[in-house]
Symmetry: C2
DNA sequence: TTGTAGGCGTTATCAC
DNA sequence: GTGATAACGCCTACAA
């Protein structure tokens, strides 16, 4: 800037004013300065700007694992929305590790990011709450409901319910849930089933392991015992795709004997055969909402109430749980 | 820092020296300062540090599309390696759009990133070369070979060759390549085929479209006409998975009538049935190499020669192109 | 409308 | 060893 000031024969602050366009300057001077800046492809030093002003125009992103395509997708939309508002994103993975997450947060603090969007590892632990308090940076949690903190997420319980009702309509005789039993998806799923069949819990198996070999054995013995239709709900597409493959390998007909539903509606769902039914999360909307809320919090630092609004997921039915397939 | 200085009764620069640990300070003072810093959970302002010193400790990452799981995976390793060396990453997507890429680069310049790792949209265009020159930031291209610029990438031609030879060994009567004909993968694939069967080009079909319906029609008519074994090579797993599904839908036996090979070896490959053969890129090694090279360039700003080292891909054979499957 | 002065939180360069 | 003091590149008064 100083250089441009010299070249155009004005003072450095004037250059600043022209480039930021917020204050009145002589049109003639403005043109001269702009031309010079363009000519030299001047890019303002945002580092200096950050130091002088009070904003860094940085949004910190902390994911558990960006190589999960669901998060990768989300990050794209977050970045998009951030950029639209003049912000850039700085990104870290916590690897589902609380200590790494803590480290990430420290680094964010060092960078004096204006705001934080994160997928908390321990969304409701006390130490997480304390850490966030100590950090004192406007933050929004995504994907997970976080008590006492702004968050946007889809209602897993409700989504699980949708899946439960859907599989029930198909006339399943037994059910399998692949994932953690403590999950909201499980809860909603089970609740929906119980509502219509109070005794169904006896016909519901939960596969918690991730080991493909174990999953294979469990499924094999299950389908040897059960001849009727089984409704399977996997807590994410990755797991669902895995099960999809195992079922094919075992020669279990999809959807006739096994009706399968995944979660996240990743692009692969439509590519499989039969297509994988899956619960679609409103990714882009979540991203937009999270960024908007964050910007609002940045603008209103002493707002009290935390936003806690569940978004609706939508079940996309494909071949793997088609109602009729004859 | 100033505050800590006051609290401990030393000067601010001394605090700086203690915290950076590079200069000699009185051990007693050191302890006092460290304790105070810990107590207040002091996080140095890297923005100020960047402005004062000459390094931002930021590495800019420009991807074409991080929602592609191959890139997402790569970014994880890049970030990991960067962090290991004290760097943080700031991330942008170019969306395969040259103008957006240019914008990203400008923003990187504004942030005065110390170095740049990018997946260029137009790896060999003149305007890209000029832009990089103008930018004048140490940079390394990943994934794509880039004339005159440091780059780490896998040798697509060689990889295509591996696939060609593999499919040939299976005794295929015709071949399909799904992807852009100009690609290195295609080139190597074709070369390998021609080497053994000079006339094979007449039996090679190229599917360039991305439209699933069109792909479906082409495959359908192909397998109506050809009864022998067809070797199919898709330029990435995404496309391969799509074809995998279509083949199943059409009732074409894999691998007996259609032997399928993808590219990237994403996690889904092992989950499909039959498992999808795929070319595995050494993701982590590429990431490490890229970061290391970048750090080296940052340390040696006026090094002349560009590194241009191709890495080896490795074909992972699974059920979709199993040699025998009876 | 414009220039001058001071400061943002560090690092770097001096003397002491 | 340590404390002044001057940058770093910009923004925000304030004064002219």
């Amino acid at each position: 800037m100083t250089e441009i000031a010299k070249l155009t024969g004005v003072s450095q602050p004037t250059v600043s004013r022209v480039l930021n366009g917020n204050q009145a300057v002589n049109p003639e001077v403005r043109e001269r300065v702009l031309a010079c800046a363009r000519e030299h492809n001047f890019q303002p030093n945002v580092i200096a700007r950050s130091l002088a002003g009070s904003r860094t125009m940085l949004i910190g992103l902390v994911f558990t694992d960006i190589s999960n395509s669901f998060f990768a997708d989300l990050e794209k939309y977050l970045e998009q929305e951030a950029k639209k508002n003049g912000y850039s994103v700085i990104l870290f993975n916590s690897d589902y590790d609380w200590n790494k997450e803590k480290e990430c947060l420290d680094v964010m603090r060092r960078y004096r990011v204006d705001g934080l969007i994160l997928v908390p590892v321990e969304e409701n632990s006390e130490r997480f709450r304390q850490e966030m308090q100590k950090l004192d940076i406007p933050a929004v949690a995504v994907t997970r409901r976080t008590e006492g903190m702004d968050c946007v997420y889809v209602d897993h319980i409700e989504a699980g319910g949708q899946v439960g009702r859907h599989l029930q309509e198909l006339g399943c005789e037994s059910y399998i849930f692949a994932g953690t039993a403590g999950d909201g998806k499980y809860e909603g799923f089970l609740d929906a089933l119980i509502k219509a069949e109070p005794d169904c819990e006896t016909r519901l198996t939960c596969i918690e392991t991730k080991d493909p070999e174990k999953i294979r054995r469990i499924l094999k013995s299950h389908f040897e015992k059960h001849t009727g239709r089984t409704g399977i709900f996997a807590y994410n597409d990755r797991r669902a795709i895995q099960i999809h493959g195992i079922l094919q390998e075992l020669g279990v007909e999809i959807p006739q004997r096994a009706s399968l539903v995944g979660f996240d509606n990743t692009y692969t769902c439509g590519f499989l055969y039969p297509g994988l039914s899956s619960v679609s999360q409103p990714n882009q909307e979540m991203a937009v909402k999270a960024v908007q809320r964050l910007l609002w919090k940045i603008a209103h630092p002493d707002a009290q109430e935390a936003m806690d609004e569940a978004m609706q997921a939508r079940l996309i039915v494909r071949g793997s749980s088609a109602v009729e397939n004859r």
